[in-house]
Assembly symmetry: C2
């Protein structure tokens, strides 16, 4: 291994090939501190050619590679295992904007650029790159592609997968696949880019991508709405989309317990409505037209929905500041729950039509097993995706509740599975859900995935112990 | 082989296992009569279980399978080869609507339903399935998925690939992959459905799909526009999208020579504009709002574009009938060119921004090699996709021109390739472009594709001689 590390250092220089434990530490633990691992080195190549050279050295030495971007993942996918027979390959130095083509509505950018930098490169030519996440200031393009990140604009613009036209990938063989196409139509064989998107670095290392851009909306209208039940929220979503079509760009559900945690733990926020209601929706519309026209459309649609009985109360933001205040309520749910104490978290999806049944069945099943358990449900209901979290019954011991994590998860995931849902809607599998994957995927599908893995990475050097 | 055929007949009954040459004939030739082949039998199973049983019989006997839907493809992908060691597996009897879920905006439908039936199933619940092709009355869901069909609404809604949430596939092993998910978000491993979409039946047989539905537009505004150059058309597209966003749902370019062929050969059509212009655009916007408001938006946008110099003249349809008349001009270009005589056809794409350069370079190169060659260019310029066809110089012999097909194609495709374009934007590879694929794909990508093929179909029984 001394020769191997020496070769890495000769290639990259000592400042970009870290081997000292203290130097490596920030890259060996995930940002939430849930996963830690060991590595022979943390390398930071400067371009695709260096990435390929690193891969060839690793392949020759039989050393595994953990690809890493902004290290903001939630499932331990970018953290090495404890065996230490690997390197962390951090792509953060590959951050060039290679090309912006406003007439083609494309941006070609390297894997280490942050999502915010990609958004800014689009905005600089008056275009929108719509992917938007809480971590956008630090997560990187290669990471969001490798995890197929979602976020708050999926309803209108899709997941990361839907926003990628082409990829450049360093394969486990050390070869470079130059698939950076900016084409809306290309029917020349198997669409290989979709294998690498969401593969969590197990099939190769994404080094650059050609991304889709969109016209920039000129108007945004935001509302905080109260509904009686999740079923009414789904009905309201359908009604708004009938009346406003694709303008509906976000539709986020927030349960009263989630709002209460925010009101309790986050400073400078207030309940936007005078009375308390069981469920809320943060809805947003965007459009290319006039601000006043969009606001009128939203208000008219809400008035109709209220007449039809799917809306209890609501407020439309009168300014950008008011809209930002409404978004703060939604965006601080996770932080508020963290301050409240430990919680068991689930990132699930079901068909949108099954959201009410899921909430009813899971809520009842959990109450039966764990009387007093507190359910904090919120998320992207327009995509059928809920962050469905549990806090301990008020008087229960923390440790006892933590010990129940797997049991609670089993109850939730079994119901998700029976509703043809997903146990990981947007965060991925990583180290966290490998065992669950085997439980819920069919043997036919697992065999296909294992076959693909063996085909692309016969030596098993790409991010072992993750996903599969 | 007698035992094999007997087993097929026992399984399916004689009326759904055709072996007589005259009975089989309609399924052994493509609809344009360009490809013909031979087969041991044409089988028409009634459900997924029968498809799987047929595959197992074929696998055991070492007989190849040519999957076939509506048999409307343009590249010979659904026609058997001449060696006759295969069966044609036609899926047309699998045509059930399995589920329509308007709250989830999904439709689950079997592979043999026609595209028009899928559209109708969506319309019945006041939703839109946006895929729209000339052959929609006879092409089938399995076929449009296996060829990743495009059409006239790709600009707004994407290709077939973008409209598929889940698939059921009979694998070459005879196993059934039940991947019929109706989820907008599911990050649980490799997204295998994208391998089968556009694979032209070389990896398995699609038997059913869960498709995305959309709110139905309430308003449609259509315009026939004259522009000086293709560059002005691209500029106009950008301007319309800035002003109207995703409402721009079609943007079709038609060159003056293409329009002239339509005016000459198709009855009951007329030039919508008083003067002759070098290029035309058929633009359409759709929206969920009021008809009058959308028309006003389109007219305002066009007035601005004319002031800015990217528009020469134009007319907005004042009725549905007028809009249909404008669409007839666009939709009859292929038919008019067919009546004019033989033509050499190309289905290419380049980045939208490279459309003007492509047309200039290819036009000049062809004129240099073949003085007097007539270029008929039209198509989905909003997607960078042109149908770029050549008719013979007026006085030249037909046979001499036909003999030049490969040479002309080489000139066109080399320029497409140099502009990072695709030699098959929406029609696929089939038998027609297998040799071209090897010329223009990188060895790295060809090796990955061949690896995927060998992984899924180690016996090579799925649609041999197509695509790869």
């Amino acid at each position: 291994m001394t020769d191997f590390v020496a070769a890495l250092q000769a290639l990259l220089g000592p400042s970009h090939c870290l081997v000292d434990a203290a130097d490596m530490a920030p890259w060996l633990t995930d940002w939430r501190g849930r996963y830690s691992g060991r590595a022979l080195a943390v390398v930071r190549p400067q371009d695709t050619a260096q990435v390929a050279e690193v891969v060839r050295l690793c392949r020759a030495a039989g050393v595994a590679i953990v690809p890493q971007g902004g290290n903001t993942g939630l499932c331990g996918g970018a953290t090495p295992l404890m065996d230490g027979r690997c390197i962390v390959l951090n792509v953060s130095r590959l951050r060039r904007v290679r090309e912006v083509d406003p007439a083609n509505n494309t941006l070609t950018i390297e894997a280490g650029a942050t999502l915010a930098e990609a958004q800014a490169a689009a905005a600089a030519v008056d275009r929108l790159f719509p992917l938007s996440l809480a971590s956008e200031g630090s997560c990187e393009v290669g990471g969001v592609i490798s995890t197929n990140a979602g976020g708050v604009q999926v309803l209108r613009y899709g997941n990361t997968r839907d926003l990628v036209l082409g990829l450049e990938v360093v394969l486990p063989s050390g070869e470079v696949w130059s698939g950076l196409r900016g084409l809306r139509k290309d029917n020349t064989g198997y669409d290989l880019k979709h294998l690498f998107i969401g593969a969590e670095g197990t099939l190769g290392i994404v080094t650059a991508a050609t991304l889709k851009l969109f016209p920039r909306p000129r108007a945004t209208a935001t509302a905080w709405l109260a509904v009686e039940t999740p079923a009414k929220a789904v009905e309201l979503l359908g009604r708004l989309r009938e009346l406003a079509g694709d303008r509906v760009s976000a539709f986020e559900l927030v349960g009263r317990p989630a709002l209460e945690l925010v009101l309790q733990h986050i400073g400078g926020v207030r309940d936007p409505l005078p009375a308390s209601h069981p469920w809320y929706v943060l809805a947003e519309m965007t459009d290319s037209g006039e601000q006043a026209a969009l606001e009128a459309l939203l208000e008219d649609a809400l008035a109709r929905a209220q007449l039809e009985g799917c809306l209890l109360d609501g407020v439309v933001a009168a300014s950008g500041q008011q809209a930002a205040d409404l978004w703060r309520l939604r965006e601080n749910v996770s932080e508020a729950q963290k301050r409240e104490g430990f919680s068991i978290k689930h990132d699930i999806s079901v068909p949108v039509s099954a959201i009410p049944e899921f909430l009813a069945r899971a809520g009842q099943a959990l109450e039966n097993c764990y009387p007093g358990i507190r359910i904090v449900a919120f998320g992207h209901v327009g995509d059928g995706n809920l962050h469905y979290n549990q806090s301990q019954p008020v008087r229960e011991e923390n440790a006892a509740f933590i010990a129940r994590t797997a049991e609670v998860g089993r109850v939730v995931h079994d119901i998700v599975h029976s509703l043809h849902g997903s146990i990981s809607a947007e965060h991925g599998i990583g180290q966290l859900k490998r065992d669950l994957l085997v439980r819920y995927k069919s043997p036919v599908e697992m065999a296909m995935m294992q076959g693909v893995k063996a085909l692309f990475d016969p030596g098993g050097i790409m991010n072992p112990g993750k996903l599969l």
